[in-house]
Symmetry: C3
Subunit: 266 residues, 3 copies
């Protein structure tokens, strides 16, 4: 697990500037997650400034959680520019499967540019694959562990990108290998936007590490931070606060001790 | 007060999906209040996805706190669809009385669809009734206890809905009976969006209980959580954190012990 | 430093209503900072209600952190109306220098109305002065202490307003005198929107004190609150919570004991 610690070290050293087009619910919390970890967030969505901002950014995160007709063109433009500039791009298809607009928007973003990493829950990724995934709101999905691994692998091949399917166990695949990440805990489901926070910090790792390892590193580190936070605080308000504390405190020693990451057979 | 505990039990068992069109200031905090309590929040406002989202939602919450010309049509469309689909709908007329735009928008939403519960402070509800209520910003109002009960009753009859007028004592009426809720404390006025949080969780209760009792349950439970939070934390930052903790921790025993709810003469 | 304590006393007594047009990332946190301090926040941006809202407001804060083509006209209209109504106006040119859109928007706002106080970091204010300031995202800048004082003074003369250049040491000038504020600490850089919070509470002070002293008071008080918060909590999540606690708790005694404010030679 040393490579995960090394990835974190690089984030803290280089402080990548992560440009986010994300949803209104989590703008504050994802910025704080990035800052606590040691990266540098910026939030900009005006079409007239996207190119300027992406030129100085190290990566792009697009999250469709509160999309609308004004924001979708910004997302599309940002993904195109980032592709041209070869900036790593992470997509969070929040609520895909819940509404057609979300499913179609996410699919279009996958088509028009180079998405480096796609992170969603089981229902969202399944919906994108045209399966019968039914997203219940945006915070859960019918997770089936035996199918999650397969889903990550299939989606990675289909969309030609790294895919992270998150749930009780997270599966990450680049279409060839598959990693399973066992870190995290259930309290994450009691705080809004924790999935979006993982996506945001995935953007930081994508700026300093190759995509497959970047996604795994983000998930393991976020999961460990959540475990430590829950040891200190058993209720959601306090847990949420401690989560930032541990994104700041997590270090090589803790990663080596706690990371539960395994390469599994595809 | 057993029925309040039963209502909470139903929220936790059924985990109603509450669709919110709310203001930018409180999107994160109202989602967290719903999650802490045990409900499931979703925030969507794009007109093209409202019908899809409302079909899977159990109730709708509309809060006009940062309304504008792009969001008002979404609010209107959502209220109409929810009415057609017979989904309980809660309206928070934030800042009615402070500007004409807010007063008129709230009144239009009351006209075009079936609002199940209207929750506002004294000044907001008074403004909607055409009285001389002058809302000072959005966080207070000239509360007059002897008039608050009457206001709830009159507004409920006028708008043919359940009305909750919140303040030091909350009054809730369906136009026939009136309940007074004495829970809560002053620290709630030092954290932004606590009124919006009550409105949001009212949406959760409206999905599992009849309107009058739903509104009373939400107010009593939120008030008790605030009292417990304040016993643990006397300053606003820490109090805010503990508020989520207690929305999660509150249980039947605490409700029976603490709820101060009385049916009063109309 | 007694005048700083007096300014805070006036904020708490008069509870100025501060109208904010700010960015999505910090709407919640700036409202909470104002409430914790004892002021009264309101957030409204619809062009159709700006005049109504500004008539009852005591000051205006404009922050361009997530500007776009829909919000810029609101910012412009608000600044114009506030000027006509002679309401003190504080401008935070978030990210000026990072993109042309931000630099140009901030400059236009400075032209079309009376900005009472301009608060930004070194890179932002330098960019507005047409220097080679390069803003890295929105949370930092190439701060050079020996130049910061001069920058505040020059910008104050150029824009004919009070300018606060914040950094490890903050410099505030009205074009004649210069104050240096040494309060604050590095943990502020690990929580998003702390600069925006200072701007917001500057709006509260601007409603009750003349501009130069208002800006200095806000910076000193916020800095002291941050110092106290950091004594109680060494990590960013917990620190953030305690920051609100100390904005609420700070009093005359603490200000007298801790304020490090000096009038320096221009």
């Amino acid at each position: 697990m040393e490579w995960i610690a090394k990835a974190l070290e690089r984030v803290r050293k280089r402080k990548p500037l992560v440009q986010n087009i994300t949803n209104f619910v989590v703008m504050n919390t994802t910025a704080n997650a990035l800052l606590a970890l040691g990266a540098s967030p910026v939030m900009a969505h005006a079409r007239d400034e996207l190119e300027d901002m992406l030129r100085i950014a190290d990566s792009l995160v697009v999250n469709i959680g509160t999309l609308d007709e004004h924001w979708i063109p910004s997302m599309e433009k940002a993904v195109k520019i980032a592709s041209e500039l070869k900036k790593p791009t992470v997509l969070d298809p929040v609520g895909a499967g819940a509404t057609k607009l979300r499913t179609e928007t996410a699919l279009r973003l996958l088509e028009i540019g180079d998405i480096t990493i796609l992170r969603g829950n089981f229902g969202e990724i399944a919906a994108l694959l045209g399966e019968h995934g039914r997203t219940r709101g945006v915070d859960s999905a019918t997770y089936e562990e035996d199918k999650a691994k397969e889903l990550a692998l299939t989606a990675a091949r289909e969309f030609n990108t790294v895919v992270a399917v998150t749930g009780p166990v997270d599966y990450v695949s680049d279409g060839k290998g598959v990693y399973a990440v066992y870190n995290g805990n259930e309290m994450l489901g009691r705080v809004t936007g924790t999935g979006c926070m993982v996506t945001a910090i995935t953007g930081a790792f994508a700026a300093v590490e190759e995509p497959l390892k970047a996604a795994v590193s983000a998930l393991a580190i976020f999961g460990i931070a959540a475990e430590k936070a829950c040891e200190e605080a058993k209720y959601p308000g306090s847990f949420h606060v401690k989560l930032y504390d541990w994104l700041y405190r997590i270090d090589e020693e803790l990663i080596i001790e706690r990371a539960k990451v395994r390469k599994v057979e595809p």
